[in-house]
């Protein structure tokens, strides 16, 4: 590490994931007048999950705009606005509500640039929350990021740490492509070190090796990054666990993951998506395609077992993937 890099690495601040996202929004709104936020009760109310918080006070109601309950309307409007010269950041309160605006997402936002032969940019960012764990039941706990990662023309990111939350949000806003940010609602309070440099971004498509290890690679997303790091720390001495946060789901950083398998020969993929046709299968398949002869053991998937999130805590805990699941998966193959 150069002295300069060390210096910069030093310039960090401890903040929660929620604060990191809010600061990313604030910095980008200060930097570029064309950036604004809209969504349900993001204004004076500060957002139901308190992410936009005090932005309203700094930027006012034009730039932190409350919308009617009309996801199709405002996601479609953001698409039209992005095509005509502004850079909206839309909040969809819960990712379960993405169905309301799926037409505008799949047929307009995702396709306009391509269908038009490149005759438009599409600098729109969509932030939304995902995941179970708070007893919010099936319509407020979904993890649907595989849909967006799969659908051509959209980029999808899913932060696991405060640093990536800030860096990905800033990269998304600066991008001229539509980017969805999937925020797991259970980690808003998770703290971490975040670079203070206003030009710090996490490039779309770069994974982060959150912990180095030699025996097994755990590719984990969102909440499961932290839980996997805890498991790795716990297993220290016994099993040497490498933990990778892909950060971007699409594009996906295949190289970082396959390089790791080259070293460890073992893969666990932990993501809260329903297992069938989820994130896991793509990660697994890329490894099989690119590191087939390095794999020493069957691949392990940790995810939601193709159910919805039930309400009652013992049921929800049953289906919610967690650190215990990651540990059991590691133990099965080491």
């Amino acid at each position: 590490m150069t002295a300069q890099a060390e210096l910069e690495a030093d310039q960090t601040e401890t903040m929660t994931v929620r604060e990191a996202i809010r600061e990313a929004l604030r910095e980008e709104m200060r930097r570029d007048e064309d950036v604004y936020v809209m969504g349900e009760d993001v204004g004076r109310f500060g957002g139901v999950l308190e992410v936009t918080g005090d932005l309203f006070e700094e930027f006012g109601e034009e730039r932190v705009r409350d919308t009617p309950i009309a996801e199709a309307g405002f996601v479609g409007a953001a698409t039209g606005a992005a095509a005509t010269g502004t850079r909206p950041v839309v909040e969809i309160m819960f990712s379960d509500f993405m169905g309301v605006s799926m037409e505008q997402t799949m047929n307009q936002m995702a396709k306009m640039r391509y269908m038009f032969g490149g005759k438009t940019e599409m600098p729109v960012t969509v932030r939304t929350t995902e995941g179970g764990g708070m007893g919010a039941a099936s319509q407020h706990s979904g993890t649907v990021h595989a849909w967006i990662a799969h659908f051509p023309g959209l980029k999808a990111v899913a932060p696991g740490t405060a640093a990536s939350a800030k860096g990905l949000t800033k990269a998304a806003i600066r991008s001229d492509d539509p980017v969805f940010i999937f925020e797991n609602k259970m980690i808003y309070e998770r703290e971490g070190e975040v670079p203070t440099d206003e030009d710090f971004t996490v490039p779309l498509g770069e994974a982060s090796v959150e912990r180095e290890g030699a025996d097994v690679t755990v590719v984990a997303t969102q909440r499961l990054v932290g839980e996997s790091l805890d498991v790795a720390a716990d297993l220290e001495g016994d099993v040497s666990v490498e933990v990778i946060d892909p950060q971007s789901l699409y594009p996906l950083d295949t190289d970082t993951i396959t390089d790791s398998i080259g070293k460890t020969g073992r893969l666990v993929v932990a993501d809260e998506s329903p297992l069938s046709y989820g994130i896991h299968a793509e990660v697994a398949t890329r490894v099989v395609e690119n590191a087939f002869y390095s794999l020493d053991a069957p691949i392990q998937r940790v995810g939601t077992p193709d159910t919805h999130m039930p309400f009652s805590p013992p049921l929800e805990q049953e289906v919610l993937p967690d650190g215990d699941g990651v540990r059991a998966a590691i133990e099965r193959i080491t």
Partner: protein
Amino acid sequence: MSDYTLETEAGRREALRRMLLIREFDTTAGERFNDGDIPGFVHLYIGEEAVGVGTCGALEPEDYVASTHRGHGHCISKGLDPELMMAELYGKADGYCNGKGGSMHIADVEAGMLGANGIVGAGPPLATGAALTIDYQDRDQVALAFGGDGSVAQGQVHEAVNLAATWDLPAIFVIENNQYGEATPVEKQHNVDNLSDTAGAYDIPGVTVDGMDVTAVYEAVSEARDRALAGDGPTLIEAETYRYRGHYEGDHEPYRDEAEIEQWRERDAIESFKERLIERGELTEAEFEEMQAEVEETIADAVAYAKDADLPDPEQAYDDMFGEPVPEIQQFASRPRADGGTEGGDPT
């Protein structure tokens, strides 16, 4: 016959009792939520009781109701059992949804309750569908959807009302205008003065009624039901009302002040209906006290029942996904769970 109607003295007393039951149920649910007994979210109906009760008083037991996230009052109005409702709020195995649904999804399709619904605007298409079944099978019923003021901005509500109107289905749409969608006042969500103005887009009758007056609501819905049964299609009813509590428990309510709440409280639906019944000689203060005491006991019993009831077994998480189960899920239901079963998925 409905199990209560505002046309008879007994029915009016029953309506009052249901309003009290709703208020007691929700006051208690709020307390138990704040205690940490009830997980998740709760959206309370306190202040809006006249809308649910006036509406369901005009319906027959076989009629369908599609509810909202703020559904407790609709369920009680429709005659659901407070014990099983409370058990559901507590996430217990014998709650209405065996603990899978919670406050936002209480349902009893057999009893005509098509579910509370966590999605704003989702009730109307379901009610249009129920009305389609009724029409298709030539049954003598109607289907009614509740929606909040906020829901009127949703495209699916527009599509559903347009379908029902174009097809002359026996549907009724009741908009509970409680002045806010979460923190956003109705004027910031819509450009019309009255939400019932939207009925013009479907050429169906649209009326705005005082949602703090159970009789006014009852009358509007009765008329709409007659119209629906006569094959004359749907009606849109806006009931002006107010929620005394925050959007959900925990709402810090920066968007309104005490004075506004007080103004509405002065028009309290229970208070005014009680006064009216007393004036008409249909109720005495003592009878009211007794009714209130009974209701409190009912709800206290419901809480006791709910607390006492069993939580579901973890394996039940795998039930009810499909009528015909799939191996993808069954493999989890049957795996050994020595480790407490919370390990999440792994299909190998």
